[in-house]
């Protein structure tokens, strides 16, 4: 592992990027050199709250993916496995995206050699609809006037079209039921160290991206982009490295506080009686890859007269199949039409599994999925 500060040598990208445009420049290098067939990244569709995974094959189009979008709680792991299995692609990935990709690599659903992952440090994401409502309620601004947003120094900061900024403490927003998604609040993986590179502004000087180089492939990307004349780098001062570590530490500490909260048991939660068996949670889960072969599609599990299903008959099956690999991306919560906090129990079980085995889904170095690792079969 090593660190560099980097910035784009391309003026347009430098200006459009969140902190120096290094990520976009590295992606441009990959496309221009023909190293990848395309880039999967997030770009805003209708506005800054509407981040949509976008596949780019012409590097001129990469500029629209520049910048950070905290109101775009997307998941790309399943897109990569479904549509890019045999393609060389580069992706930008939050820690939960990276963890999903890693779990899918161990299941041979993504080929490690085919993918370049430019990781993005993440303090958490905000759901777009509640994010707009939050800005309406807690800021002196019209949500439509926001041109960019940022999470920095414990605040959710918005920038308006007139250049002004407003900030509110995330802690205060979350106390009122807004702010980051609940899974993001308890997430303690803030830097995607399984990615080839982990990029962000923590510890960076203005106009520079702080990059953690995690492996040889990552080093080759930095060297190649520099050689191609699109990236400038310098060594960060020790103070910058320490500053970044401090931010990460604070974020993890915040997460741990939420993790230590006492969750009600399933039988104590009314939410499960709202389940309509629509399988949205299963279908969106990046770790659930069985699709039409899913056990839950078998006739003995199809009982439409029993709605809501007893939690153990539906989620119990999913829990036993994949909770050990839950990456706490919160997609199941996001898509549940009945607002059932599904990820709560999956993440809880993953953490119990971690306590027994030390395995953190998508972070630990096991080459096989949980329950397939020889050292865990005894469990």
């Amino acid at each position: 592992m090593s660190y560099v500060l980097a910035k784009s040598q391309n003026d347009d990208i430098h200006k459009a990027g969140e902190c120096g445009g290094a990520v976009t420049s590295i992606l441009k290098y990959l496309l221009d050199e023909g190293i990848v067939d395309g880039v999967l990244a997030i770009s805003p569709c209708d506005d800054v709250y509407d981040g949509v995974p976008t596949f780019v094959t012409d590097s001129e189009d990469l500029i629209k993916t520049a910048g950070s979008y905290h109101c775009a709680p997307t998941m790309i792991g399943d897109l990569v496995q479904k549509y890019f299995f045999d393609k060389k692609v580069a992706v930008t990935a939050k820690p939960c995206d990276m963890r999903a990709i890693e779990e899918l690599i161990t299941r041979h659903k993504i080929k490690r050699d085919n993918i370049y992952v430019i990781g993005l440090n993440c303090g958490g994401t905000v759901s777009p609809v509640s994010g707009r409502k939050m800005i309406d309620l807690f800021y002196e601004a019209d949500p439509d006037d926001v041109i960019s947003e940022e999470i920095d120094k414990g605040q959710f900061i918005i920038e308006l079209a007139d250049g002004s900024e407003e900030a509110v403490k995330i802690h205060d927003l979350e106390n009122e039921g807004y702010g980051r998604r609940t899974n993001c609040q308890r997430c303690d993986v803030k830097i995607p160290r399984k990615a080839n590179l982990a990029c962000g502004n923590w510890g960076a000087e203005d106009g520079w991206t702080f990059i953690e180089i995690n492996d040889e492939k990552g080093q080759e990307l930095i060297d190649g982009a520099k050689k191609a004349g699109i990236l400038e780098t310098k060594t960060p001062a020790q103070g910058a490295i320490d500053g970044r570590a401090k931010v990460e530490g604070i974020m993890i500490k915040m997460a741990n506080k939420v993790q230590n909260a006492v969750y009600p048991t399933v039988s104590e939660m009314d939410e499960w009686s709202r389940c309509i068996s629509c399988y949205a949670c299963r279908d969106v889960c990046p770790i659930c890859w069985c699709f039409e072969n899913c056990e839950l599609n078998k006739p003995y599990f199809k009982d439409e007269t029993n709605i809501p299903p007893t939690p153990i008959a539906f989620q119990g099956v999913r829990l036993s199949h994949m909770s050990f690999s839950c990456v706490d991306c919160g997609q199941c919560d996001d898509v549940c039409p009945m607002d059932i906090p599904v990820s709560l129990i999956f993440d809880k079980l993953q953490k119990k599994y971690f306590n027994r085995t030390g395995y953190v889904a998508g972070v630990s170095d096991d080459i096989k999925p949980p329950l397939y690792s020889p050292e865990k079969t005894e469990l």
Binding site: C45, Y49, S273, R274, C278, P337, M338, D339
Partner: protein, 337 residues
């Protein structure tokens, strides 16, 4: 080339947003549209399966030959015996053109809106969430989950929930404070004293006209939820017929033109009494199965248009994928040509 495009869910009148995934120019799946204000990326199973209509669409046919056959049929028919079926599956733009087509040719129009009718003033989804009491008729949480979610929010905000659901157990009853299953009329009579100006009545099926009249007489906001995406929009253009009125109309019909609807599945009528049934549909349904002529038309994914959702908000959408197949409007242009 992977693309993710915004569109609207066509599976009921709630008006949810949904993203479709295209790979190499083909529709391959759906993806949560989290920015959409109605559903925030949440879709029910019907919504996520709505692309099945595109995936199972009719193969291309010689449309001109079929249109020629239909023209001959219409020319030889007495226009008073020709009925055009319009539905909430048609966009606003299509409904207007279908209405004009029927009226200019002297054909009857049959428009069935779940045996419900139009109301100028309806509750918004925010009204539901902020109501102090919510009266639910039908298993809304299961049948229209993204409205059901608003009822859940109302409960979380402290509202009292009253529900009428025919089934003995249901998801809607699970969240209700008081539940009834005898009849809608009995439910309304029992709850009448509870209803006030801070209440909302939501319903997706009321069979009896007297019960509808009781709902209208209540001193509160109401929200009818229709089974089709643009029934509310079509109701702004056409008068809906009741089930009995539809049966009467069909009894006097010799040629039936069905524009993107499955009237056979909806109404228990002996359609064999009708001499000629002509369907304009994107994919197979019970009506196309018994039709004499079936003209393939565009699915909603292949056209631009607008729907009016249950709370009366007009929502526009653009084609997610190009297609050479005719739309309802193009069919009518050819029939008029």
């Amino acid at each position: 080339m992977l693309e993710i495009k915004h569109t609207l869910c066509p599976s009921c009148s709630v008006g949810c947003g949904i993203n479709v995934v295209l790979n190499e120019g083909e529709v391959v799946g759906t993806f949560p549209y989290k920015r959409h204000p109605v559903n925030a990326g949440k879709n029910c199973l019907n919504g996520r399966n709505s692309i099945d209509c595109y995936l199972n669409k009719f193969e291309n046919v010689d449309e001109d030959a079929l249109i020629g056959d239909i023209k001959k049929e219409l020319q030889s028919a007495d226009s008073s015996n020709v009925t055009v079926i319009c539905s909430g599956n048609n966009t606003i733009e299509e409904t207007e053109v279908i209405k004009e087509f029927a009226e200019s040719n002297g054909f009857n129009i049959g428009f069935y809106a779940d045996n419900l009718k139009n109301y100028d003033e309806v509750a918004s989804y925010d009204d539901v969430e902020n109501a102090q009491k919510v009266f639910v008729i039908g298993d809304l949480l299961y049948e229209n989950p993204l409205i059901g979610r608003r009822v859940v929010h109302a409960k979380q905000n402290g509202a009292k929930i009253f529900a009428f659901v025919k089934a003995e157990s249901s998801v809607t009853s699970n969240i209700a404070d008081e539940c009834f299953n005898a009849s809608v009329g009995e439910f309304l009579d029992a709850c009448k004293g509870e209803v006030d100006e801070n209440s909302v009545v939501i319903f997706n099926q009321v069979d009896d006209a007297d019960d509808l009249a009781k709902i209208e007489a209540l001193n509160c906001k109401i929200l009818p939820v229709f089974s089709k995406s643009n029934t509310k929009g079509a109701l702004n253009i056409l008068d809906a017929k009741s089930k009995d009125e539809m049966f009467e109309l069909l009894d006097n019909t010799k040629v039936l033109l069905v524009f993107n609807d499955d009237i056979v599945d909806e109404l228990e009528f002996d359609f064999s009494k009708i001499s000629k049934i002509i369907s304009f549909a994107p994919c197979a349904n019970k009506t196309t199965e018994i039709s004499d002529i079936v003209v393939p038309i565009k699915t909603w994914l292949e056209k631009d248009g607008s729907f009016v959702n249950a709370m009366g908000e007009t929502q526009t959408f653009n084609a997610a994928i190009e297609s050479d197949v005719l739309s309802e409007i193009e069919v009518i242009e050819k029939l008029n040509g």
